[in-house]
Amino acid sequence: MLLMQWHALVIFNLLAGMILGSVLYRSDFCMAGMFRDAFLFKNYALLRSLALAVVLSMVLFSLARLSGLILFTTPPFFTPPSAATLAGGVVFGIGMVLAGGCVVSTLYRLAGGNVASMIAFIGMIAGSLLYAEVHPLWVPLKAGTVLIGATMLSDITPTGELLMTVLTVGISAILFTRWLRQGKWNMTAYADGYLQPWKAAVAIAVLNTAAYILSGWPMSITTGYTKIGAYIEQLIAPAHAAGLLLFNQNSLSAVLSGSPITGGAGPRVDIVFLTQIPLFIGIVVGAFLTAVALKEFRIYGLPPKRQLVSALVGGILIGFGARMAAGCNLTFVLGAVPLFAFQGFLFVAAMVLGAYAGARILSRYVIR
């Protein structure tokens, strides 16, 4: 990572977060909504932009790796895929549809004053704290169900990875050009300051590549959520929090020019704190400022009771599922898939299944 000084890391992540928050708010780039609408309305319009973000990240990550700008070709928090990745993905997928947003879209919405998103966020923190209670039971399950003894496709076959990258980018380029000719990239929306989702996709890919180069690995955020929860738990029940395995472990450890860098969910200042907390704050601040500038910030009060319950339960499932799988849609969809890390593909498949189930639950029990 190029930014070795902690204040440079913090400033970079804060700025990247602010740009991201503003861009996502303006285009309403919500991954949960994309999958839900595909199942609920057979509307795939925004999934195209997500595909663009993934493929463009693939191109930019590859270029950065080939030019020697990347320090960790395997981001240190990726592990071999296991049944835990699958189970976590399903739980996460159900959660994000019920909550009406994923770990990132919930942030830009709450920054715009949406109460349901605030409740979903509280659910996410609660869900990750709940997971901390069962983490000791989950660890052996995870270790015992490893599906492939490798983290990345390049661990098994570097040529295969190169081939897959070229193939994926090639096929996507043909598809993307066809969509361009059919005029499928531009959306008609009437919101003030609307940003075309494909532009948001480009911004995401560029920012995530910058993060990979400057800050060490692609963006991730949910360990930071658990950390926020851990600080709260430490205030309320310090003795209990001090004894939790999840808070005493590192989810990330690497060696950088001879010195170790570590980070985890525990209530302490480490690499996770210095990268994910500023990113989190940046997204909220960026989205809030954008909402104010567009004169849209306003708290409308509580949605119907069923939706409130749905947001809270969905949030808890998101928080719990993200820790089961040790990552969220941001890490896996936009980080692991472009890098051909096995966890990414498994998580996405499971998340899509979960989103399908979530869409069924939603239309049957929540919106009536």
Partner: protein, 82 residues
């Protein structure tokens, strides 16, 4: 315009898929009056993506749609095609 029924739907602050689902249900309930121009549906929403999904869907169903910003939210009007 003057002696039309005005159907109002306020979904400010609702969780997101609610917007399109509830709007669709409302359109379908009043579909005859709306199609004949005897009624006009006004949806109030703060959800930015709904300013894409509701007009898109309603237009595909053969209605005329107008969107304007009021205060800090959006007002989507759905009525008969002229």
């Amino acid at each position: 315009m003057e002696n039309k029924d005005r159907i109002e739907l306020n979904i400010l602050g609702q969780v997101c898929p609610a917007c399109l689902l509830v709007a669709l249900r409302e359109i379908n309930t009043h579909c005859r009056k709306l199609k004949q121009g005897d009624a006009e549906l006004t949806v109030r929403t703060d959800h930015r993506d709904a300013t894409r999904t509701i007009p898109d869907t309603a237009r595909a169903m053969g209605y005329d749609v107008e969107v304007r910003k009021v205060d800090s939210y959006y007002e989507i009007r759905v009525g008969a095609r002229k």
